[in-house]
């Protein structure tokens, strides 16, 4: 596999720390369901990173990456 392909694979979309379950996001962000929703369009592909405790997108990367099935 090429370095570029490796880099593409080592992104948030394939990381075990990515938390994208919508009901879980609603539980973890207090107040979200009062006037918003994790099931709406505005969240798009954003998800929570459990390591950074921050929002991430599928193409993001970092040195803490660990593959889902690693």
């Amino acid at each position: 596999m090429s370095a570029v392909a490796d880099q593409r694979e080592a992104c948030c979309a394939h990381c075990r720390f990515r938390r994208e379950d919508r009901s879980e996001i609603e539980r973890r962000v207090p107040g979200m369901v009062s006037f918003g929703s994790a099931y709406g369009a505005s969240i798009a592909a954003s998800a929570l990173c459990e390591v950074h405790d921050a929002w991430v997108s599928p193409g993001d990367g970092c040195s803490r990456f660990r593959a889902v099935d690693a």
Binding site: P30, M32, F35, I43, W55
Partner: protein, 472 residues
């Protein structure tokens, strides 16, 4: 450390298998798209029945005015089959959508049954002939008990499944499109966009610059700014995702939006009444100065209800408040959220240092991905009913189309809004909101002040003629 930080697990747990990860793209992938399909399906069925000499009136039942409790009970008992059918229809539509979005139907259905019965009682209470004397407008009757219950009683987890504020309001807004002629939308749309742009930019920069001056992180200040300037919680989520904000920063922005949105539900209609504003002008002001669609619809409908019962003391058609609000908020402000998110993502990834080592890039596809799709349904609903109406004379429209086609759709819209108002109160647990801190509070509140003043000047003095043209 706030409660939000404390509830984080101490160590990261392995995620679920990639194979079960959700795919969020496609025309059935989120509540926005489902609100479009549900709203348009209702309108098409109503049209099909109307075209065949029938009507959706039997299903779209609403409590009639009553004087005594016996009358009220009689009304419910007489129409029990209609209410049962209405519950079944809503449960089928909402349940199908939520089940396909991955939610538990066995939790949703009992929760929605309770919500429906409570909504029926609220709807009935607001039909009391003396309700106006005691300011018992449906949105307020729904909100206040909901807030009291959710902040004093621990509601079971399964009950949350039926409290889908955003979903109900989006379905209601699509149905609202059926009552707003496309010509009016085209005429007032540019004004809404112009007014919203001025207010949104001013509000964003006031919050952002105040936050920065107080030493807040730029990402945090940006999330606060967009939350106040565009569409509240949805904007906070979109901006948080775009700038890769910390979860706690988004939670604080959401807490501020929720608190101020609830306050404004009560303050803006009261202030509009005190200032003698017409329904359309008040709706535009609320649309400029409220932070969340659901909260704004509650405030605008409350003011419309006040006008309806004011015996001509408030100028304008009652429905003009919600119509002006929707044009201002949905068309003027909400539709730009994707662009705000993309621009902020670009600035954050190219200008602001990331101190947590996350490598990110701005992606123009976010503009569409975050676009509030229910706006498409709102415009399509308006276009469809406008086209149907074009086949009738004005007299026939008023005599035939309004009672047999438009009125039943309006009744279903009112139901959807009532589900929403009740859900707002029942989901707003003030103790669970993130600890705010004085700096974010000051920054956001500065934006609130600017937003209200500029919104008032533009709605009442600069663009009043346009807004009153809606029916004022």
């Amino acid at each position: 450390m706030s409660e939000v930080t404390r509830i984080l697990p101490a160590s990261a747990r392995p995620s679920e298998n990639a194979a079960v990860r959700q795919e969020r793209r496609g025309a059935f992938s989120n509540e926005d798209w489902w609100s479009v399909w549900i709203g348009l399906a209702v309108i098409v069925v109503a049209w099909a029945l109307f075209a065949n000499g029938s009507s959706l009136k039997w299903l779209a039942v609403a409590p009639a005015k009553w004087k005594t409790l016996a009358d009220a009970w009689q009304g419910i008992a007489t129409h029990a089959p209609n209410y049962l059918a209405l519950f079944a229809t809503f449960a089928l539509l909402f349940g199908t959508a939520l089940a396909l979005l991955g939610q538990s139907l066995s939790r949703f259905l009992p929760s929605f049954l309770i919500l429906f019965v409570a909504s029926l009682l609220i709807f009935t209470a607001s039909a009391w002939t003396e309700a106006a004397r005691y300011n018992l407008e449906a949105p307020l009757i729904a909100l206040v008990p909901g807030l009291l219950v959710s902040n004093t009683v621990a509601l079971p987890e399964w009950f949350q499944s039926g409290l889908r504020v955003e979903f109900y309001i989006k379905v209601g807004i699509v149905l609202l499109g059926a009552t707003l002629p496309l010509t009016l939308l085209v005429w007032a749309g540019p004004v809404a966009v112009g007014q919203a742009t001025i207010v949104s930019l001013a509000t964003f920069f006031v919050i952002f610059l105040t936050g920065k001056a107080l030493g807040l992180d730029k990402r945090f200040a940006a999330v606060l700014g967009v939350g106040g300037a565009v569409c509240g919680v949805s904007a906070s989520i979109a901006a948080g995702g775009a700038v890769r904000a910390k979860r706690e920063q988004t939670s604080v922005a959401i807490a501020l939006v929720v608190v101020w949105a609830i306050v404004m539900i009560f303050v803006l209609p009261f202030a509009s009444r005190a200032l003698g504003l017409s329904t359309a002008v008040a709706g535009a002001w609320i649309g400029t100065s409220e932070f969340a669609d659901a909260a704004g619809i509650a405030a605008a409908q409350a003011y419309g209800d006040v006008a309806r019962n004011a015996g001509g003391a408030i100028a304008g058609a009652p429905d003009a408040a919600v119509q002006a609000f929707t044009l201002m908020k949905v068309v003027g402000r909400d539709i730009w959220i994707g662009i705000w998110a993309f621009v902020l993502a670009w600035v954050a990834t190219t200008r602001w240092n990331s101190d947590d080592g996350v490598q990110a890039k701005a992606d123009a596809r976010e503009i569409w991905a975050r676009f509030p799709k229910f706006v498409i349904g709102f415009v399509l609903a308006s276009a469809l009913v406008t086209w149907i109406a074009s086949h009738y004379s004005l007299a026939d429209y008023r005599k035939v189309v309004t009672p047999d086609l438009v009125a039943p759709i309006s009744a279903l819209r009112t139901w959807a809004f009532t589900f929403c108002f009740l859900s707002i109160g029942l989901t707003t647990r003030l103790r669970s909101l993130a600890a705010i801190g004085w700096k974010p509070f000051v920054a956001f509140t500065a934006g609130v002040a600017v937003n209200i003043v500029i919104g008032y000047v533009l709605s009442v003095h600069v663009f009043a003629d346009y807004w009153n043209g809606l029916g004022g």
